[in-house]
């Protein structure tokens, strides 16, 4: 029997969370070491999953299936395809760097890491679930710890409001999708939640057109689609650094991924009908998000709205339903995850030392924090889609895909590239360069070695992927091929 790698990866953080809860809350170092050990293990396992995936054979691999409740056709059914394998890796990376960045948390670190890991378990679970019921199960597990993480450790001014808003938005989205999923379950007549079987269920077009919006938009709320994106910047800003990284880096991908897997892949006809609306909304995301980011004066809100804008590109890639667009969207999910994790890490490091995120009050941070400045600039280049960085590998195909379908939309969306460049460069200049305000002189401490490792790792991934796209693009393409076959195209 093959090693049940996917179950192990899903339950590693959960078990680690329980172990951490058993440690005495005063022994903070032991708690942190345990957390780091678990995160390292998860990273190694996710690397293993990623590299054992056979991109020639394609399809769903590393399959594990345990009957959970045969009576209703629920099974613990895990497997990865070319779309989810990179996302599993992304989760491993963000979890590892998130733990490194959170080393300095002093208020109840035991509960912090425990909740963070329960969240991670949920995220892994969604990415590898091939059973619709289990997908919801893990999806909800991923949503709730967020509330506590933001509400307890977040930014004191907005945390209560933001945490409640976020949880309610996401819960509403997921339960609306749930009704759609139940409708699919009965309509198919197969009495199974197995998504591979449901893919072949051939629902009638009328059924698909009716239920697609429930399922797709329910999940897309977590992907930050306009007009349901409102929770996201508030949530990002209120969250503590590691949680922002997780949130923007992984959680929003969860929404996009589930919208793709359950919405587009199970109801392809519906996707074709509603594709135009998705494209229009995604366009608003991209352009509007970029403009709003431009006028923010809070450093973290800039990144928050830039996430909205970039997630719009993922949705846009979905809506093209072409090979290029979908491949770009798959790449963008990974690339944006790493990039935004880096951004939030950098913002957090500046904030922890300057105790303000108000851009007019900041300046000259490159001198005391050179590595943070370099990392932020690299992140910025990725965000602008510069060649040589992962952002280019992701965004360029998306734009090509749109061009194939609707050239006009591509042109409008391209405005965002300019705006993105503008807000990133403005932020870089105002925060990292220029003269340092007098009150900061000598008060800005250096960053720890844990922070450095995290930043360097994230930068290396982005540059590496930009220079050698072949370490990921073929994976995503195998997944895209399958989606296209479901959509009826070649």
């Amino acid at each position: 029997m093959q090693f049940p790698i996917l179950s192990v990866i899903v339950f590693t953080p959960m078990v680690a969370a329980l172990l951490i809860l058993l440690i005495n809350s005063e022994r903070k170092t032991e708690i942190r070491v345990t957390a780091l050990a678990a995160a390292t293990l998860a990273l190694l396992l996710s690397l293993w999953v990623y590299f054992t995936y056979d991109k020639v054979a394609a399809g769903y691999q590393l399959i594990e299936k345990y009957n959970w409740m045969p009576m209703l056709g629920i099974s613990l059914y895990f497997g990865v395809d070319g779309i989810s394998a990179p996302l599993v890796l992304l989760t491993g990376v963000v979890m590892f760097t998130g733990v490194l960045i959170s080393w300095g948390i002093e208020d109840r670190p035991r509960e912090f890491f425990a909740f963070l890991f329960i969240l991670a378990s949920g995220v892994f679970g969604v990415f590898v679930s091939l059973d619709l019921f289990m997908l919801f199960f893990f999806y909800e597990i991923a949503v709730f710890p967020m509330y506590l993480l933001i509400a307890i450790w977040g930014w004191i001014k907005t945390r209560e409001y933001a945490a409640m808003k976020l949880t309610l938005y996401l819960f509403i989205g997921s339960v609306v999708s749930l009704v759609g999923a139940l409708a699919m379950y009965w309509q198919s007549g197969l009495r199974t939640f197995d998504m591979l079987a449901l893919e072949q269920a051939a629902f009638s077009p009328a059924f698909q057109n009716l239920w697609f919006p429930f399922v797709f938009f329910g999940f897309a709320v977590l992907g930050g689609i306009f007009p349901f994106h409102n929770w996201s910047p508030d949530g990002h800003v209120a969250a503590p650094t590691a949680v922002s990284m997780f949130h923007a880096g992984v959680l929003m991908k969860l929404g996009a991924f589930a919208a793709l897997r359950v919405g587009i892949m199970l109801l392809p006809e519906g996707a074709k009908t509603w594709g135009g609306l998705i494209m229009a909304l995604a366009l608003v995301n991209i352009v509007y998000g970029a403009f709003i980011a431009m006028v923010q004066t809070d450093f973290k809100y800039i990144i928050g709205f830039s996430s909205v804008s970039h997630m719009g590109l993922v949705m846009m890639g979905f809506s093209t339903m072409t090979k290029l667009g979908l491949t770009g969207a798959g790449m963008q999910m990974f690339s944006h995850g790493v990039m935004t994790a880096l951004f939030f890490a950098a913002v957090g490091m500046v904030y922890d030392r300057a105790h303000t995120r108000d851009i007019p009050k900041l300046g000259g941070m490159a001198k005391p924090l050179p590595l943070v400045a370099v990392a932020f600039i690299i992140g910025g280049l990725v965000s602008m889609g510069m060649p040589g960085f992962s952002g280019f590998v992701a965004e360029f195909p998306i734009f090509m895909g749109i061009w194939q379908v609707k050239p006009l939309v591509a042109i409008i969306a391209a405005i965002s590239i300019v705006v993105t460049a503008a807000y990133i460069m403005l932020a870089v200049r105002r925060v990292f360069f220029g003269s340092m305000p007098a009150e900061f002189e000598g008060h800005i401490g250096t960053i720890t070695v844990y922070d450095k490792v995290a930043l360097v790792l994230l930068c290396v991934i982005m540059i590496g992927l930009g220079l050698f796209p072949s370490v990921m693009v073929p994976w995503v393409q195998t997944g895209v091929q399958h989606i296209l076959s479901l959509l009826g195209g070649a």
Partner: protein, 482 residues
């Protein structure tokens, strides 16, 4: 010897053991010293109930459904499963009762609890109108007394009296309905009656309505829900927990049997009526719960809402629907008992049921706070806790039978629910006490509470994760109905 059929004894084995236990409590009570009386009473009752549960599980499992004792009782899985739930909740409740002032030291309280449990057991398996009515009254009268048990306490007295008045009124209407059924058909056996209502008739609908009033009161269905908050608030907390779980489940057992067995011919009509009532129950319960400042009142309204969710399963009128309603009750009994147990544990130390008393609880009692999170998230319907799976199953049953709108209403209601449950968790985890020094005083949890709450927390997670066997149990109880 021909009249004696051994299996008949097994059909009422739990009841026999319950009666023995109740007598034992009364007989032994005078021999115990005042100092250790509450311990002895509590452990005897809880232990005896668990023993009854175990013995019944080993010896008295039903095989093929059969009418016994001249058609008075039906010996089947539906009745048996519910009996086990009642025994379990009564055992947990007696653990909670031990340390409550003016309640835990009185043998009568335990005796009344056992008598009510006995009544519920008979309710679950009654197959005859006369038996059913007697069982309902056997359940209700001890509960009226228990709700008003704290005689010096105005609120408790009010609670008991209110419960008695509304209970008496609704049960009279129900009895009138029963008498009409008998008058028109000449029969009282539930399984013979279905033949008397073969097609739709206004008569059947009218009778059903009267019976429904009595049962709606039991499960606190809108518009017969308004007693619940006042009664729960005034009654001793463990009793309120028992009322909101076991008593409600007993009502559902009767509803399931009565509606599916006697009135299948007009199922489309009563389904619609129940669907509307379920909608109103959920919505009213949840919306009013939003505004509550007292945790017992909030839990009362939340338990009204939960009756609405469970009702969705009944509305679906299918084997899956009935099974999902039973499953919902399993998850709900565990969860709500835990919630009331925590309220009792906190209330005993702080002396307050105000939501303010929960500020900063996670700093005073981290374990209790964690258990509270488990219970409240399960009520809200979050995995990996029982409430999530239970909600999914009732919604699934509704969608299967084409009640999509009802499922949507349920889903929207669960969002409102999540909001107020989270507010409580926010107080527990986020807020600080007004006087921060007080946070250094931990909240001691006595051993019975620790044991009961641990069992319940583990149960909530078990039902939420390994839901297969529990659903199997629920299914086999439902299968007997069809």
């Amino acid at each position: 010897m021909t009249a004696f059929v051994p299996s008949n004894i097994f059909a009422i084995l739990p009841e026999i053991l319950l009666l023995t236990l109740a007598l034992l409590v009364l007989i032994l009570d005078p021999f115990w010293k005042e100092a250790s009386r509450h311990l002895n009473l509590g452990w005897l009752t809880a232990g005896g109930l668990l023993l009854t549960l175990a013995v019944s599980l080993v010896l008295a499992r039903p095989s093929a459904p059969a009418l016994v004792f001249g058609g008075m009782l039906r010996y089947d899985w539906l009745g048996f499963a519910f009996k086990m739930f009642f025994l379990f909740s009564a055992a947990i409740t007696s653990l909670f009762m031990m340390d409550v002032e003016r309640l835990g030291r009185r043998a009568e309280a335990y005796m009344l609890l056992l008598a009510a449990t006995l009544g519920m057991s008979l309710m679950a398996s009654a197959a005859d109108l006369v038996m059913l009515y007697l069982a309902i009254e056997t359940t209700s009268i001890p509960l009226y007394i228990l709700a008003g048990f704290l005689t010096g306490d105005e609120k408790s007295t009010e609670s008991g009296f209110k419960y008695l008045l509304f209970g008496a009124l609704t049960s009279t209407v129900m009895l009138y309905g029963f008498s009409l059924i008998y008058g028109f058909s000449g029969k009282t056996g539930l399984y013979e009656l279905a033949a008397s209502f073969p097609t739709f008739s206004l008569l059947a609908l009218g009778v059903l309505f009267m019976v429904l009033i009595g049962l709606a009161f039991k499960v606190s269905l809108f518009p017969f829900h308004f007693w619940a908050p006042d009664v729960y608030e005034g009654a001793p907390t463990p009793v309120a927990g028992f009322l909101s779980t076991a008593s409600k489940a007993a009502g559902f057992a009767v509803i399931l049997r009565l509606f599916m067995v006697v009135f299948p011919s007009i199922s489309t009509d009563w389904s619609l009526i129940l669907a509307i009532l379920a909608t109103l129950t959920m919505t009213v319960g949840n919306l009013i719960a939003l505004a509550q400042k007292n945790i017992k009142r909030m839990l009362a309204y939340s338990s009204i809402a939960h009756a609405g969710y469970a009702m969705i399963g009944v509305v679906a009128f299918s084997q899956l629907g009935a099974a999902s309603a039973v499953f919902y009750l399993i998850a709900y009994i565990l969860t709500n008992l835990a919630a009331f147990g925590i309220v009792a544990a906190v209330g005993r130390v702080t002396g307050s049921d105000d939501l303010k008393a929960y500020y900063g609880l996670s700093r005073r009692a981290p374990t209790l706070a964690l258990m509270m999170m488990v219970a409240f998230l399960s009520l809200a319907g979050m995995p990996p806790f029982g409430g999530f799976v239970a909600k999914v199953f009732v919604f699934a049953a509704a969608v299967e039978q084409g009640w999509v709108w009802l499922a949507v209403v349920g889903v929207l209601n669960s969002i409102i629910g999540l909001y107020y449950y989270m507010i409580v968790l926010k107080y527990v985890y986020l807020y600080r006490m007004e006087n921060e020094d007080e946070e250094k005083h931990p909240i001691p949890i006595s051993r019975p509470y620790a044991i009961a709450l641990t069992i319940l927390s583990i149960g909530i997670i078990l039902v939420g994760v390994l839901f297969g066997p529990w659903f199997g149990l629920a299914s086999s109880s439902a299968a007997n109905l069809f």
